[in-house]
């Protein structure tokens, strides 16, 4: 009675071979461009910038806006020649790693913008460092250790946690005279190191700290809000999802809690508008900068968070580096990386000039602190 099983195994063979054939033929396209061709990286025929971001999944609100602004930059500055290859990572390092291999294997890809999260940067770094090194520029990964020199082809256009955490802690201690700070991280790779940094800094300054954390996927924070004691003066929320910060703030109001919220740059978004709260931001008010009006109008769509504009700048840097490399007719990734290192973009939509340090950080990075007024109107206070 092995008939059924045999039949199954037989079908396995047939299907395996068939699927392998399909795979081979389908991937033939991926194969035609890269290393297989005689002259690798003469990639100026159809120069491509890879995009990695969470376009679907829980962090889609980040990825969609990042993708929109990257496409905007390509359309506006790419001269119709440079293409964008979008890859969805769902903020999952495994997906980042697979799509990273895909981009790395495509010889037309000369630079990558993204990925979004620090843990994803860690996952793709070993891939991008291999063989023909692929330079990549993140628009949102802020973990400090990423630019300790171990990833020579990594750049980022936002300042890292070693700037944000001390700025925040200093402001809380010296300007706001915080006595007791209630810190809640949201259990993400973005939030945890930031919360740790601020907590250590505050403790060293003699401020009492209560530490909590909560999963960013939950919808209700009221039982955590109830835990905020009467002696708590400030609540620090280094959160990715501004809408969650808004819920937290409203629930504090509902329960009559008087403490003042201080949010990280993740809360620097139209979704968070608790009157009297403070937020830190990696750029001056993007919507308020003079000369940004045309830039915002050109985007054409509504955008609420500030995850998008840095990706515009990152894509802009990549485009300029590729155009410079292609000026002589051919370009290599090494050339693009060299050009990136020498990037100088005056007056980006983020306010200042964009230049990279030797380790890939933004030169002269600083954080701004805003106080929110009625309807979320921002006033610069530090």
């Amino acid at each position: 009675m092995h008939g059924r099983k045999r039949k199954g195994v037989a079908a396995l063979a047939v299907l395996t071979i068939a699927s392998l054939a399909i795979v081979a033929s389908a991937f033939a396209r991926a194969d035609a461009g890269p290393a297989a061709t005689a002259a690798p990286n003469a990639g100026c025929d159809s120069p491509t910038i890879g995009f990695q971001g969470p376009i679907t999944g829980d962090a889609a609100f980040i990825g969609k806006e990042q993708l929109g602004f990257s496409q905007y930059a390509i359309k506006k500055l790419g001269g119709g020649k440079i293409k964008l290859s979008q890859q969805d990572t769902q903020l999952d390092p495994a997906q980042a790693s697979t799509t990273g291999t895909k981009l790395h294997a495509d010889a037309n890809v000369l630079a990558v913008v993204g990925p979004a999260g620090s843990q994803e940067v860690l996952a793709v770094a070993p891939i991008y460092k291999k063989g023909q090194r692929l330079p990549f520029i993140s628009g949102s990964a802020t973990r400090t250790s990423l630019t300790n020199g171990s990833i020579p082809n990594f750049f980022r256009v936002v300042p890292n946690d070693s700037v944000q955490a001390p700025t925040t802690a200093k402001f809380l201690r010296q300007v706001l005279k915080a006595k007791h700070v209630f810190i809640v991280d949201d259990q993400t790779a973005y939030s945890r190191p930031l919360a740790n940094g601020v907590q250590a800094n505050l403790k060293a300054g003699g401020v009492k700290v209560t530490r909590n954390s909560v999963n960013q996927k939950v919808t209700d924070f009221s039982s955590l809000v109830s835990k905020i004691g009467d002696d708590v003066t400030h609540v620090y929320l280094p959160w990715q999802i501004a809408a969650n910060g808004q819920i937290f703030g409203q629930q504090m109001k509902e329960q009559g809690k008087k403490a003042v919220i201080f949010g990280s740059d993740g809360l620097d978004s139209g979704d968070f508008k608790i009157q009297g709260a403070y937020i830190s931001a990696f750029a001056p008010d993007i919507r308020g900068i003079k000369g940004n009006a045309a830039f915002i109008r050109g985007y054409g769509k509504k955008f609420v968070s500030n995850f998008g504009p840095p990706m515009y700048v990152a894509t802009q840097a990549a485009i300029l580096a590729i155009q410079k490399a292609c000026a002589d007719g051919d370009a290599t990734r090494a050339e693009v990386q060299k050009n990136l290192r020498a990037t100088l973009i005056p007056k980006t939509p983020l306010g200042g000039n964009l230049q990279f340090t030797a380790r890939g950080d933004v030169k002269g990075a600083k954080f701004y602190i805003f106080k929110l007024g009625a309807g979320g109107k921002k006033t610069l206070v530090g």
Binding site: A11, L12, R29, Q119
Partner: protein, 485 residues
């Protein structure tokens, strides 16, 4: 599956004739390919395994792209996971929703034993053996509730376990230990553990993706051989008896509890082993790697392929992982979309005359609709179609408005309604509605779905799962069984 032993010819003793002939009744598979099946059937299983592994091992020689090889590695890893889950779900019939926790446990344990996290750098073989043994023990522990709980209650308890695992992996970076001052970092928290040692065996270090492909194929072959033997052993038969009716199995004096625990241990050990390879391929482990979406994917592979069948679940893994990767490329997705529609038409619409009429009608409908739209509102046809050569073919046929988002969304909703209505209608009305529905599908694809390839990818996967399951509820290579509820 061979539930019934007996001689192939003549009436079977002690067997219900109707049940005994179930294979004949369902054995119409193949059609014109039947002779091919018959020939392939005569091959022993090990020859087919050798062929499958051999062909897969040649992938690096067919394509030099690291991406293709990486996809092959991922597929083999998924196949291993599906095989492990198949032991628990397909053979023993225990709904285990905590399965990916073992995968994560294996990966994390390997990472802890062979990285700078605690500065332990055990030799790979030692780490892997430790991982396999501890995963099996953890499987034993998780299996214990199965002594008391059955069905969905067992499922939910194992699901709790998976959830607890992810919470612990995410938050075990600030644990206060009694003997240590300040918080201790065990798991690396949301940032995971990186810089894991690559696997090295007898001095050979696995560094490149292609070497990992061969390693994982080797492991795959070993696991398949082991499972094949178990499947034919007393234990394998006892598992199936347990799945069909645990009460009857117990009456036949089978050690039901021990069998359940054994199934959990086998599944867990396979998952743990797969985890070690995954950790060393990715050179890092992160909590997001082992969350529920992965569980869903592996379950889809097992059930889609046909729970209980070794080749089935492997095919399931290949189908799902490869189609997900192919859909990353918008050009492939478009091809797949139109080919699927075309194949559906050819197989479902009979006779040929009707099919021809529909095709002609479709072309005519498009041209009329286009002209009409151009005449009514020029803005409806002055948008752009993406995608090179193909665009030229469609220009003048498919409407492409400037405001593709809003009209595309409306078209999408209308398309869903039309498809649903199509399955309800009968006769001539169905053929008449089919033409505008097909046109609408092309309209939605070219205007809305093509600009959102990443969303479309998940959308198509969902539709694929629904269609495939209603086409073959028992899975691609599964066997239909009479169930007593």
């Amino acid at each position: 599956m061979s539930e019934v032993e007996g001689t192939p010819e003549g009436p079977k003793i002690g067997v219900d004739e109707w049940v005994a002939r179930s294979e004949e009744r369902s054995g119409v598979r193949g059609g014109r390919l039947a002779p091919l099946y018959a020939r392939a059937e005569r091959l022993p299983w090990w020859a087919l395994l050798a062929a499958a592994v051999g062909v897969s091992a040649l992938v690096p020689f067919i394509s030099s792209s690291d991406y293709v090889i990486r996809v092959a590695v991922n597929t083999v890893l998924f196949a291993l996971l599906a095989l492990g889950l198949n032991v628990v779900v397909g053979w023993a019939g225990l709904l285990d929703l905590g399965f990916v926790a073992f995968y994560g446990f294996g990966a994390y344990l390997y990472a802890l034993l062979s990285s700078s996290q605690f500065d332990l750098h055990f030799p790979a073989l030692l780490s892997v053996s430790i991982v396999i043994v501890s995963s099996a023990l953890l499987g034993l522990l998780l299996g214990l509730p199965s002594r008391r709980l059955v069905g969905d209650y067992l499922a939910i308890v194992t699901l709790f376990f998976a959830q607890i695992y992810v919470v612990l992996a995410t938050n075990a970076d600030r644990i206060t230990l009694p003997w240590n001052d300040g918080p201790t970092d065990i798991s690396g928290g949301p940032n995971g553990i990186t810089d894991i040692d690559p696997i090295s065996i007898l001095g050979y270090e696995f560094g490149s993706t292609r070497s990992y492909l061969w390693l994982s194929l080797g492991v795959f072959a070993v696991v398949v051989v082991a499972l094949q033997f178990i499947n034919h052993s007393r234990t394998g038969r006892a598992w199936r008896a347990l799945r069909e009716d645990s009460l009857a199995a117990e009456l036949m004096s089978m050690p039901v509890n021990r069998l359940k625990l054994l199934a959990f241990m086998f599944g867990a050990a396979t998952a743990g082993l797969t985890g070690t390879i995954f950790a060393s391929v990715q050179l890092g482990v992160f909590p997001q790697n082992f969350d529920l979406p992965l569980l869903i994917t592996v379950y889809a592979m097992v059930i889609l392929g046909g729970a209980g069948s070794i080749p089935g679940v492997v095919i399931g893994a290949i189908t799902i992982n490869v189609s997900l990767e192919l859909l990353r490329e918008p050009a492939n997705a478009r091809l797949l979309f139109y080919v699927a529609i075309g194949l559906g038409l050819v197989t479902l619409v009979r006779p040929w005359r009707k099919l021809a009429a529909i095709c002609v009608g479709l072309v005519a409908f498009g041209i009329v609709a286009y002209q009409l739209a151009e005449w009514l509102r020029p803005a409806w046809v002055s948008g752009t179609i993406e995608g090179g050569r193909f665009a030229g073919l469609l220009d003048g046929w498919v409407i492409h408005p400037v405001d593709s988002t809003h009209l595309g969304n409306a078209g999408f909703i209308l398309l869903i309604v039309a498809v649903l209505a199509l399955t309800e209608l009968r006769g001539i009305w169905r053929s008449i509605l089919l033409v505008p529905t097909l046109y609408l599908a092309a309209f939605v694809w070219e205007n809305r779905l093509v600009v959102e390839p990443s969303v479309t990818r998940i959308l198509l996967l969902g539709a694929l799962l629904v269609v495939l399951m209603s086409w073959r509820p028992q899975g691609l290579l599964g066997t239909s069984r009479v169930e007593i509820v």
